[in-house]
């Protein structure tokens, strides 16, 4: 083989590694190493000065499954994800379709929809804390006007999780709308005109042309929404702190509680590993299943 060609090949490989190196180093330091360390940590008992930590195998995991709080938190998070993901995607799409149409004050509508995204979650939570305040809050003021009794929205187990869910949807829809808006703008207007000439109405066009073409964006938004449903818990600190009686507690908040309020880091580590595992599996399924039915340009 030509030496020059071989040299060039090797040089190209070297370039490749050099280009990947910075990202690889950062990822190793801040993602891969912590994940593996967590996995390792989750296999040991909690160490104290009198009883140093010893290898415990999967004991931490079986403890978790035996804990009723685990099942409450897991089902809370399932409900939370099951509602926030589809609903915020639906609102995002609806708002994007509207904000993309030729309407007066279009840019005002767009920025109005986007405002909740700019607000820090903590600020948004404080805002909603005011909305939800029994008797004095905006919501009770309005329902009170129609003669309803004041409700402690965040303070009772029946409504706490739902209240949290509404805040999340309000916060996320505007963010996802931006992705849909960007995607809508890449769809040439010719397609709509061609469909119109072929006799397709607004609904047929949306269903047969627009939604399939937005599918890549929907997948992206879906994955993001799913990650957020596990990741985004800032508002819990302000609104409910997981209460009452764990009614609005989500997985990550519980992990935080275990690790930093009860200083039980091995169980927190075990829970973290479970979350990582679940998210990984779901991501694989998502991409496998949905990609087959998606058209990428």
């Amino acid at each position: 083989m030509n030496e020059m060609a071989q040299l060039q090949k090797r040089r190209l490989a070297l370039y490749g590694w050099m280009l990947a190196a910075p990202a690889l180093a950062l990822m190793s330091l801040f993602a891969f190493y912590p994940a593996i360390a967590t996995l390792w940590h989750s296999l040991f008992t909690r160490g104290t000065t009198r009883r140093p930590s010893v290898f415990a195998g999967l004991d931490n995991y079986s403890d978790l499954f035996a804990d009723p709080t685990f099942w409450t938190v897991a089902s809370n998070n399932l409900i939370y994800a099951g509602i926030t993901i589809p609903v915020s995607i639906f609102f995002a799409l609806a708002m994007a379709l509207w904000a993309n149409a030729h309407i007066p004050a279009r840019s005002f509508v767009r920025s109005a929809y986007f405002t909740p995204t700019i607000l820090p979650m903590i600020a948004a939570a404080n805002l909603w804390l005011f909305f939800y305040t029994p008797d004095l809050g905006v919501i009770d003021q309005i329902t009170g006007f129609f003669g309803a009794e004041p409700t402690n929205w965040l303070g009772q187990p029946e409504t706490a999780l739902a209240s949290i869910i509404i805040v999340t949807i309000w916060k996320e829809s505007g963010f996802f709308m931006i992705f849909y808006l960007a995607a809508l703008q890449t769809i040439p207007p010719d397609l709509r005109e061609a469909a119109r000439i072929e006799g397709a109405g607004r609904w047929t066009y949306t269903r047969r042309i627009l939604l399939p073409l937005l599918m890549p964006t929907t997948i992206f938004v879906f994955v993001n929404a799913m990650i957020n449903s596990v990741k985004l818990i800032d508002h819990l600190f302000i609104l409910t702190k997981g209460g009452p009686n764990n009614a609005s507690k989500l997985i990550l908040y519980w992990i935080w509680e275990m690790a930093f309020a009860y200083f039980d880091s091995p169980h927190a580590a075990a829970m973290t590993i479970l979350v990582l595992l679940t998210l990984g599996i779901v991501a694989v399924i998502q991409f496998r299943l949905v990609e087959k039915r998606t058209h990428y340009r």
Binding site: D190, A195, I197, A200, I209
Partner: protein, 377 residues
Amino acid sequence: MTAQSPFIEIHSVSRVFNGGNGVHDLSIDIPRGSFVVLLGPSGCGKSTTLRLIAGLETADQGLIRIDGKDVTNTPPSKRGLSMVFQSYALFPHLSVAENIIFGLKVRKTDKEEIKTRLAEALSVTGLEGCEDRKPSELSGGQRQRVALARAIVAGHPLCLMDEPLSNLDAKLRHAVRKDIRDLQQRLGITVVYVTHDQTEAMSMADIVILMKDGRIEQAGDPAELYLQPATAFAAGFVGSPPMALLPATALPNDVLPSGFPPKDLTFGIRPEDLNLSTDPASEAWGISATVTGSEFLGAETFVYVAIAGTDGATARLPGRVHISPGTEVSLSWVRAAAHWFDRETGLRHAQATTDIAAQETSQTTEFQTSPSTVSTL
């Protein structure tokens, strides 16, 4: 409605956009089964006219009739027409077959009929074997044919085409031009075709409608447009290389039509009507010019000349002509070949043109036309 009535009637239609573009008080009659080309530079309103016929734009005022029915405010899908877009507007996520039958499916056509019509459209456009491919897996020419197949599959009597060839390379364009023309004649449909390419217009059209600034400049068959351009604009737009347009003041007096002050006239001459002589003495008359360059194209040579006080002209000479830049030449022409236009309005002076021809045939340079018979078009 009699059979003689036009298939499409556009009656003093206006559609003005904020930028000032659009069409103004436009009236066109298009006979059934004809191939009509809307020709013009960009921004002349030709695409707007097409979109008005399609129903993608709504007329501010005026009336549009298709096949005797008033469709001014009818939605596109109810007008019984199809359209080929410049970008083809194929649905990228659907296969070729799905793209073609999209309209039939939307209109809930019978399954068996869809099948036969699809097979027919595929065979007419030579797309058999590509049914299951996505548009992204097709070449430019194939995509163009899918767009064409989608346009003819429903069997609408009217097909609108918006610069359908502009995304193809030159060689393919030539072939498809012929295919489209053949298809139109075989199916007997009416085609309204928009282009800015005068070669396309000349080679395909039964009727060319030349537009400028939202108004019709001239309408007629291609030969009429070429041989008797109604305006200086039409003269300059149709033909390649374009007709040379010179101010009459740059010409010697004896070639001018009598009875018109030279400062009011523009003289036009087609490149092929220009004779070029390097020996001024051999010609009875001629205007002097300097060669600035030449282009050899095989069967012919274009010679570019500069004439004092003008933008220059082009002569089209048969075969290969050796002539170096800087050569002093003398230009002459058969007088009947000259076109005269009003300098101010750009309109053709029909009278001046016939007069100058008459002057030559009678061989009298002193021939006088009484001013009363002189008229402008």
